[in-house]
Every structure is written in structure tokens, then in C-alpha cells.
């Protein structure tokens, strides 16, 4: 068994062990399994020959010979980047899930949570290394099921709606993709010489009109996943309702499956499709950038803002891929990795305030239904949700600033490299679109700075001092760690990637920190250095604590 099989089988083994082991071991097993995958991914990254093109670490065996379906794994520069990203984010996700039971009020569900989590990880890792279309499709669909349950069971108030929307929407798109896959198979040659292998399909010369139809089929599948305007509305809902670690996975990796697919299939296999399609993709990239930025600016919920900013940032990936220049494609890959890390960090940052304050509203919405849904006191409508966090939580603020400035493309942090290269590449092919897209860059800076102003600057809200002062340095330190650095790597070096950390400590402290504004529920919980509140002591509570 090669490294690549080990990579995706490690989480599968973890799943089996979780089923057999006691419940309280689940998270440790999940951590171990993802760490093994990370180790394997690092080994692949180190062993990867950057100078030679083509697939490496290839594993190939017949799977269903009757239909020429193969178990065919391999990585090239594009895959390696995303495999490493996935492995890193998976580990972070487990750590962020450490207290998932308390945070989502689902006690005794660790086992199923981490089981599904590992299934998700296996699907994602497999997807990025599959070189056979059926395998590719199976892994693509494999991620749907665990994601559906992870959102639908451990999520927020509207979790069921969001989960079904996510599931059906993605399924809808993948049906078109499946048709295209089968068509590609049957058109790949006379009976007996047909294949599902991606590298071999890429070498075929198909007529342009065929390519065009296939392009559309794959496009619909991936466009919903990315998501590309106008198929993007599942994303804000899914992000907002998903628990923090799942939002991290969703934004960090799942969205990249769409753009990876566009690069892998639409560009590599169907690259000779009509120019019109690429122009179309570039236009939608620009729309994503600008529309995503404007929508993000309008959001009152911080998590929704981050979700819309993801839509905007994926636009640069689309623009880079559509440009089909070395700068553009590399910029797109870089942007995928960079956004994976940055958006993960952003969601963790949102998660920190949510765990402590039990709400995420930059400004409380006016809509009474929405307020009721999130259990907010209706008298707060239209008021500021947070203020002066920089005074209360300085270290957290620093980490937030790293993530925000990275996202708005400040040189020295990773967001810049992706945007810069994508723009450079796009200028060569579509100068006008490149020019228009910079509007989104300015608006992107505007909403991030505006958010900083409204949440972090100024005077703390009444009661805000209680929020975090005492625990902030430690808690925010684990909350997310920014690590800009510049190791050159492969064809798309990591210029600087803030690596997200997690909220392990935070989860543990969620119960004992007074909420900033209003508590949805005040749970009594054992805390470090204090006697647990047992059943008997409840009698005395009136004297202990008001």
C-alpha cells in the first residue's frame, strides 16, 4: 500500500476504531487519525519532486474492469497543495471540536460526531488524489453525507433547513457532473478502449462541441460547490448554521473541491473548449469578487460576513483559472491554499466570540423574527453587538488583525500573493476584467476595516469588561495562531500562510465567562480551580452566586 492509500485510509481506520472504542476516546482517536494523515501528507509534500511534471506517488489497480474503472491515485503540484491544506485543516478541525458536545448542546454524541468527521476527512483527501473519474465522483459525493449530518444535527437554530439546502443543491449539481462523466467515458474511444483515467482523458482530442457540452456539465457540478454566483445562497446558510469546526472545514476545504474540479477537469481535460466558456468563467469570477464583497459589507452577523467574503475570495481563484496563464493558474492554486487557511482562521475567530457572548451580531438586526430565533432580547434591535474588544481582548485582537489583513490582501500575508498572481495572470488574458475586479479589492478592505472599527475599536459595550480580560491572553493564543512565513515550495510556494489554530481552551471556558450582552443560556459547569457545582451544592446556589 502506497502513501496515497494510507493518506485517505488513515481516517477510515480511525472511524472503525471509534466505533469499537469507548466514547470518551473518540476525539483522541480522531486527532490521532488526522495526525497520521497529516504526517503522510507531509511525507508526500517532502518527497514531491517539484522539478518534474506529471503525476507522482501513483497507485493504479483495476477496480471494476468491466467498465474500465480503476483505483487510480496520484498527485501533481495542484493536488499536493490541496492535500497538505486538507491535512492541516483536518487536525485543526478536530482540536476545535474538542468541546463540541457542550458547544452544540448535544451531550453524548462525540462518537457519531467524530465518526462522521473522519468520514468527511477521508472523502476530502480521496477527492484531491483520485485520478479516475468514478473514484473522483465517489469521493466527491462521499463528503456530502457526513456534512449533511454534521450541519443538520450539531448546527445552529436553522440547521435542518441549511443542511437540506446544502445537500440537495450540491446533489443537484453533481447529477449533471455524473452525466458528463459518463458521456466523457463513452466518447473516449471505441468499446474496449474507453477509460475513466483523467490523464488519459486529457490527452484525447475531442471535438470542440462535445467539449463545450461536457464543460457545462462539469461546470454545473463544480459551480454549486465553489460556489459561483448565482448558485451561492446555500453557502451563507450552511456556514452560519454549521458548528465552528465544520464551518472551518466547509470554507477551508469543501469550497476548494469546486475550484479544484474546475482546474482538474474543466482546465486539464476540457481546456480546449470554446473561448466563450473561459470568458464566461472570468466574468463570473469578477461578479463573485464584487458582488461577494458588497454582500459581505451588508451583513450584520459576523459569520455571514465571513461567508460572503469567501464568495468574494473564490472569485480570484476563478479569475486565475479562467486566465489560463501560468501566473493565473498558480495564483488560483495559491489563493485556494491561502483562503483555506485564512477563512479557517476567520471562522475560529468568530467562534471565539460566539462561545463567549452567545451571539455574533456586529449590530443586532431589526427583524424581530431573527432576534427571537437567536434568542436575543428584542429591546436590543439595532444596537451595537460588540464594541471596544481591542481593549478587552488585546491578543485576540492582534490575531484577528492578522487574519483580517491577510484576507484583505496585505502584502506580507498570504492573501496578497494569490490575489496578486491572479490579477497578473488575468491581465494577460482579460485586461478589462482584471481592471474591474480591483473594485472588489477596495470594497474588501472597506468591510474588513469597518468590522474592525465597529467591533474592536471605541469603548467596550456595557458589561464587555467582564467578557474576557482575565483569560484572553491564554485563550486567544490558542484561539488562532498567525504564522506568516515564507517557505518556497513546489510550483506554488507558500509565501506566507497564517496557520489557524483552535479554540480548545476556549471551549473549556465557555461556561464560566459572562456573556457580553445577553446569555442565551447560563450553564453551570465544572471549571478549573473551582469546586464543581454538584447536585447537592445546587441547593446553596442562591448564596453562592446570583
Amino acid at each position: 500500500m502506497g502513501l496515497l492509500s494510507l493518506l485517505w485510509l488513515a481516517p477510515v481506520v480511525g472511524m472503525v476504531v471509534i466505533l469499537l472504542a469507548p466514547r470518551r476516546w473518540s476525539r483522541a482517536i480522531a486527532l490521532l487519525a488526522t495526525l497520521v494523515s497529516l504526517g503522510v501528507a507531509l511525507a508526500i509534500g517532502v518527497g514531491f519532486q517539484t522539478q518534474s511534471g506529471g503525476l507522482q506517488f501513483v497507485e493504479r489497480a483495476a477496480w471494476i474492469p468491466a467498465f474500465h474503472i480503476e483505483y487510480f491515485l496520484g498527485v501533481d503540484g495542484l493536488s499536493v497543495a490541496l492535500v497538505l491544506l486538507t491535512a492541516v485543516i483536518s487536525v485543526i478541525g478536530v482540536i476545535a471540536s474538542w468541546r463540541i458536545e457542550e458547544e452544540s448542546h448535544r451531550s453524548g454524541t462525540e462518537k457519531s460526531y467524530f465518526f462522521l468527521y473522519l468520514l468527511l476527512v477521508a472523502g476530502m483527501l480521496g477527492f484531491f488524489i483520485a485520478q479516475d473519474l468514478i473514484l473522483f465522483y465517489v469521493f466527491f459525493e462521499l463528503t456530502l453525507l457526513p456534512m449533511y449530518f454534521l450541519i443538520g444535527y450539531w448546527g445552529g437554530p436553522r440547521r435542518e433547513y441549511a443542511a437540506i439546502k446544502f445537500f440537495l443543491y450540491t446533489l443537484f449539481g453533481s447529477v449533471f457532473m455524473l452525466v458528463a462523466i459518463l458521456a466523457l467515458y463513452f466518447l473516449s474511444g471505441p468499446a474496449g478502449a474507453r477509460t475513466f483515467a483523467i490523464p488519459e482523458l486529457a490527452a484525447k482530442n475531442l471535438p470542440v462541441w462535445v467539449l463545450n457540452w461536457l464543460w457545462l456539465g462539469f461546470y454545473l457540478g463544480f459551480a454549486i460547490k465553489v460556489p459561483i454566483f448565482p448558485f451561492h445562497t446555500w453557502l451563507p446558510d450552511a456556514h452560519v448554521e454549521a458548528p465552528t469546526p465544520i464551518s472551518v472545514i466547509l470554507a477551508g476545504i469543501l469550497l476548494k473541491m469546486g475550484t479544484y474540479g474546475l482546474a482538474r477537469i474543466n482546465l486539464q481535460v476540457l481546456g480546449d473548449a470554446s473561448e466563450g466558456w473561459w470568458r464566461f468563467l472570468a466574468v463570473l469570477g469578477v461578479v463573485n469578487i464584487i458582488y461577494g464583497a458588497f454582500c459581505a459589507m451588508a451583513q450584520l452577523d459576523m459569520k455571514k460576513l465571513v461567508a460572503y467574503s469567501s464568495i468574494g475570495h473564490m472569485g480570484f481563484v476563478l479569475l486565475g483559472i479562467a486566465a489560463r496563464t501560468p501566473e493565473g493558474v498558480n495564483g488560483a492554486i495559491f489563493q485556494m491554499v491561502s483562503h483555506g487557511l485564512l477563512s479557517g482562521m476567520l471562522f475560529l475567530i468568530v467562534g471565539v466570540v460566539y462561545v463567549r457572548a452567545h451571539h455574533r451580531f456586529i449590530v443586532y438586526p431589526e427583524d424581530p423574527a431573527l432576534l427571537q430565533l437567536y434568542g436575543v432580547d428584542p429591546s436590543k434591535a439595532g444596537q451595537k453587538g460588540f464594541g471596544g474588544l481591542a481593549t478587552v481582548m488585546p491578543v485576540y485582537t492582534f490575531l484577528m488583525a492578522v487574519a483580517f489583513f491577510g484576507s484583505l490582501g496585505l502584502p506580507g500575508l498570504s492573501g496578497f500573493v494569490g490575489e496578486f498572481l491572479s490579477l497578473l495572470g488575468a491581465w494577460k488574458t482579460y485586461p478589462l476584467y482584471a481592471l474591474v475586479s480591483v473594485i472588489g479589492v477596495v470594497i474588501g478592505a472597506a468591510y474588513f476595516l469597518w468590522t474592525i472599527q465597529r467591533m474592536f475599536l471605541g469603548q467596550p459595550n456595557p458589561g464587555g469588561e467582564r467578557l474576557a480580560r482575565r483569560s484572553s491572553p491564554r485563550a486567544a493564543g490558542v484561539g488562532s495562531a498567525g504564522a506568516p512565513g515564507g517557505p518556497a515550495w513546489g510550483d506554488a510556494p507558500l509565501g506566507a500562510g497564517p496557520l489557524a489554530g483552535n479554540g480548545l481552551e476556549l471551549g473549556g471556558r465557555s461556561g464560566d465567562v459572562d456573556p457580553l450582552g445577553d446569555a442565551v443560556s447560563r450553564r453551570e459547569k465544572p471549571r478549573w480551580g473551582r469546586r464543581p457545582v454538584s447536585e447537592t451544592s445546587k441547593v446553596w446556589r442562591p448564596f453562592c452566586r446570583s
Binding site: F67, E141, L145, Y148, F149, A163, I164, K165, L168, Y169, L171, V175, L178, V179, L182, A183, F186, L187, A191, P230, T233, W234, Y291, F294, M297, A298, P326, E327, N330, G388, F405, L410, P411, G412, F416, F420, L423, L424, A426, W427, K428, A434, L435, V438, V442, A445, A446, Y447, L449, Q453, L457, G458, Q459, P473, G486, A488, D491, A492, P493, G495
Partner: protein, 702 residues
Amino acid sequence: MELSGTLLAIVLFAPLVAFLIQILLVGRWVRGPRVAGAVVSLLGVGVPFFLVLVGVVPHLFEPTAVLWVPQAPLRWIDLGPLSFQVGLMVDNTTKVLLFMVTLVCLMIHLFSVEYMKVRDGEPEPYYSRFFAYLSLFTFAMILLTLSDNLLTLFIGWELMGLCSYLLIGFYYERKSAQDAAIKAFLTTRVGDVLLLIGLAIVWASVGSLRLPEVAQGVQAGAIKGWLLTLAGLFLFAGAVGKSAQFPLHTWLPDAMEGPTPVSALIHAATMVAAGVYLAARMLQVGLFDERTLLVVAYVGGFTALFAASIALVQTDIKRVLAYSTVSQLGYMMLAVGVGNYTAALFHLLTHAFFKACLFLGSGSVIHALHEAFHRHHLHADAQDMRNMGGLRRRMPLTFGTFLIATLAISGIPLTAGFLSKDAILAGSLAYVLEHPQHLMLAVFGFIAAAMTAFYMFRLVFWTFAGTPGGRALGPEADAVRGALAEVRESSWVMTVPLAVLAFFALWIFWSLHPASEGWIAEVLSGAEGWLPEAAHRAEAHGHGPASVHLWTMVLSVGLALLGVLVAALFYLYRRWSTERFAQGQFARVLEAKYGLDALYDWAFVRNAHRLSQWSGRFDLRVIDGAVNGLAYLVVGARHSFTWVTGAIDRYVVDGAVNGVAWLLRQLGAGFRQLQTGYIQGYLLVVFSGLVALAFLISAAFR
């Protein structure tokens, strides 16, 4: 000392190390006295200054440029055949700029040690953080200066923007400071993204962003015609944003919300001058063609006049200086535009010294007033010149150095400002003689010169002359007068930097002859070793005949003296009154800054918010509404379907039809599965569909 790569690397990275030490260690794990942070930062800029002094300055008159690219070219972003190589470069321009940057930074760091100690009577809580930001800024500015390529230049450029944002918003509890910080970042960002497009054009045409290669590429004709103009205009747009030129100048006066040393360092001496530096470099490598240069000249000339006119009516001491900075940067752009980059860089250098001196001088005054007002529990504005007056006796050192710098900015002989401003005006006059249709360029310059002298001496008379608090208004006026009588001169930590900077505002350092440019022109216009020969053609513009110089001198000095005289008649001797002017329409227009701030606020800020609200609603109602609507339609269809089957079941059913109805109902139930969220159902559908499809297609293609 040898001018080596190691030396340059230390010069470059020392402030960065200082920044990292401060941000990671000081105050968190290392507990020490409060000045520890300041000491780290002082070392972070002191070491580079010392190294520049012993390692770079002695090489000033060696014409060759030193290019330092690491042994294996440092390929930062490596795309196989295409890669972005980065390295450091030291030519004559860089040498003098390095000297200026490190010296001014050092002086301002020193000044801040005292200035930043107290905030509203309490010890400054973020003392160390302030110095950390200053160190990061120093690093970014040195990076920009030393870069041999446009990529790292742009990185330094943006990092400076970040520091500017952080330091303008340093007093982040204040709404006005927050707003000003955002305004500064976003306004310059507009220029920056256009600059990015400019870089994309250069990269796409020349295939490199290294300055020597770009110069060669441009000369070989890799980029020409309108594309060259377009590239030049985009690159210039970046400079317009950073150097606060019209129409992107509105952020700089607001940036005065930051602490005064920040205004001196970032918003007067270094960062805002980076735009001029970029423009001069672009002129050197040939990316600015005739058309672009004309735009540069007009934007610069117009800004010089425009900003000077607003400065005439300001009452906040720092805002006067801010508009004066915009105006002086306009002069430099004018010089670049007429092809005289030597004069532009010369003025950049002298301006850095005397404007830093002016800002620090005003800082010294503000600091003293703040303390006095605080002691008397007054809420009077310590930056309003109406609350000043008669300070020359109370603060003689500040007054003396301030006066020297004021003479320099006004272009009075025996100052550095006279030399450099004269060079610019002579250049523009020579240009106008060659191209009479562009007469306005010279007119802008000369009128602005008179205005500069006027508003600067107005400032000096209001602040230092007259009786203390003579112009104070409001209920606290008497108390202000009392407080002013107790104002004391600042400590040596603040006056030494003033004295050093004032020395460089005098002519003697720049030239022994008080009316000719001296060594600096020789150094700046010396052949840059890395440029192709023909690139020096641009320089030919700069030097008109000697008679032009003479006329310029007579005109500019005459106009400056006229400005001083008028200011004296208005404000010192009070022969004339400004009342009628102050009540006129024109004064109102000037006080509203020609309405541009309000216009931008409406056109961009509010409309952006409106557009975002609209997008948000559109997304929620139209797009998401369509998705949900579609879902309801499907669900509804299913319901009606089952209703129909139900009706059939009830009314039409007979024994014979029973079977059909049953079948339909089963179908309905089957469809219902689609919506129930049972995964098995979905997977079943998917895979059975897959199999069916496979058979269908294989049959079709057989």
C-alpha cells in the same frame, strides 16, 4: 566600510527585528521599565543609521550602483520559467535617501520617547506598541528605498500603508481617529490597486519587475504607444494616492488625528514622499512617457496651488502643516512632470527635514499646551492656533527652530528649501519657455510659492507672536491665557531633534554656495550605473539656461517676501483686517475644502453602503428567494400530485382502477422520499439513476 550585501541586510532587517522583539516579547514575557520598548526601537533605527553613516555615505561620490542579489537569485514566487526575482539595489538616489530616512526616523523616535509618555495625565498605556509600529514602519520605508524591483517596493509601500492606518488610529477610542484611519487606508488603497494594475501591465509586457530589466525592456520597445501611457498612468495613480495628490488628497489632513510624531514621520517626511520617489524611479526607467509626464506635471502643479489655498484659512496648526505637505508634494510631482527628477528628489530630501522639524515643533507646542491645559483642567483644543500666541518667549528653542524651518519652506535664501524649491521652479520655467502652451505649470508653482510664505508666516505669527491667547474664543478664553503664561519649553529629548532637523533646513549642508544646488545635484543627477544610456535623456529637460535660474530666483524670492509681508501686515502689525475676507463666499468655499470631502462622502461612502444594502437584500430576496421558490414549487407539485391521486382514489376508484391508483400513490410516496432527508433514499436514487443512465448511454452509443 565596504558597501556589502550583509551591511544592507542589517540596515534593512534591524528595524524588523526590533518590531518583532517588541510585539512578541516586550511587556509580555520580558518585564522591564516602560522605556524598554523605546530603547529597542531606538536601536532598531540607530544601528541602521550608524551603518549608513559609515558604510554608505563615504561611497556617495562613487557613481556606480551596487546591485545586491543573493548568490542564487532569490526567487520569491517561483513559477518555473517565470519567477519574481528580488534583490537590493543601492544607487546614488538610494544612498542619500537612506541617509535621510534613517536620520529623520532616528530623530523622530527620540522625540517620541518624551512626547508619547503621557496621555491625558496618565502614563501612555500603549507606549511599547507605538514604538513597535514605528519600527515596522521604518522597516517598510527602508525596504521601499532599497528594493531593486517593483514587487518588494510594493510590499514596503503597502506595509507603510498598514502602519499609517495603525498609527492614525492609535487613539482608537476616538471615533474621529478611527474614521481617519479607515479613510487613509481606503483612499490610498484606491491608488494601490491601480498601481497593481500598472505592475500587471509591466509584468505582462516586459516579463520582469526588476528596475534594471524594466529599463532595458522599455528601451528595447517591449512596451510602447498607448499601452506605455496606460501603464504610466496606472503607476502614477498609486503615487497620487500615497502622496495625497489631487484628487486623492483628502485623507492626509484627516490623518492628523494620529500622534504628532507620526504626522512628522509618516505623513510628512517619508511615506507620503514615497509616491514622489516612485514617480522619479518610473521616470528614470522610462515608464513615464510624454503624455503621462504632462498629466503628472498638471496634477502636481494644480495640487501645489490647490492645497496651498486651503491652508490659508485653517486654524488647526497640524492641518495647516498637512495642507502644506500636500502642496509641497505637488511641487515635487511638478518637477517630475517636467522631467526634472533631480530637483524633485532634492526637494523631497530638504522637505523631509524642514517639514519634520515643523511638525515636531508643532508637537512640542501641542505637548506643552496640553500639559498646561490639563493642569488647569481646561478642555480647550491644544492644536487650535487661536489658543496659542506669544509663545516665542516661553519656548525659545522651539520658536527658533520652527522659524528656520518656516523660512526654508517659504523659500527664503540661505535655507535648504530655497535651493530645492528654486530648482523646481527653474525647471518648470525652463519647461514653459520650451512649451509656451503649458504656461500654467509655472504659474501654479509661483503663485503657490507666495501662498506658502503667507500661510506659514500666518502660522508663526499666530503661534509665537502677539500676546498669549490673544485670539482665544469662548468661555475658557481667560483661563487659556492664564495657562499659556505657564507654558514651559520642552525637555532636551524633544529639542535636540528639533535642532538637528533645523540644521538640515539650512543651506550649509547642501551647498557651500548659498544660491546654487551644490553637491547634491551632482550626486542625484550622476549616472545611475544600472540604467541604459539613453535613459538619461529625461534629465536633459531639467537644466534651463542660466538666465532662467536668475529670473526664477528673483521672482520666487520676491513672491515669498511678498507673502511674508502681507502676512505680517495682517497678523503681526494688524494694519489690515481679514474680517471682510473671512465673511466672504470664497473663505467659506476654502473652509469647506472646496466641498470635496463632502462630495466623496456622498458619492463613494454612502453609495457604497447603499449598494451593499441593496446587494444584501437582492441576495436574500431574489436569488435565495428563487432557490426557495423552486424548492416550494417542487414540494407543491408533489402535494398536488398526491392530491390528484387522492381524488382519483376517492371518486374514480373502482375495483379495476384500484391497481392504477395504488401505483400512483406509490410513486407519490417515492417522490416524497426526495424531501425527507433520509440519506439512504438519496443514495439509492443516485446510484440507481447512475446505473440506469449507464445502460441508456451505452445502449445509445453502441
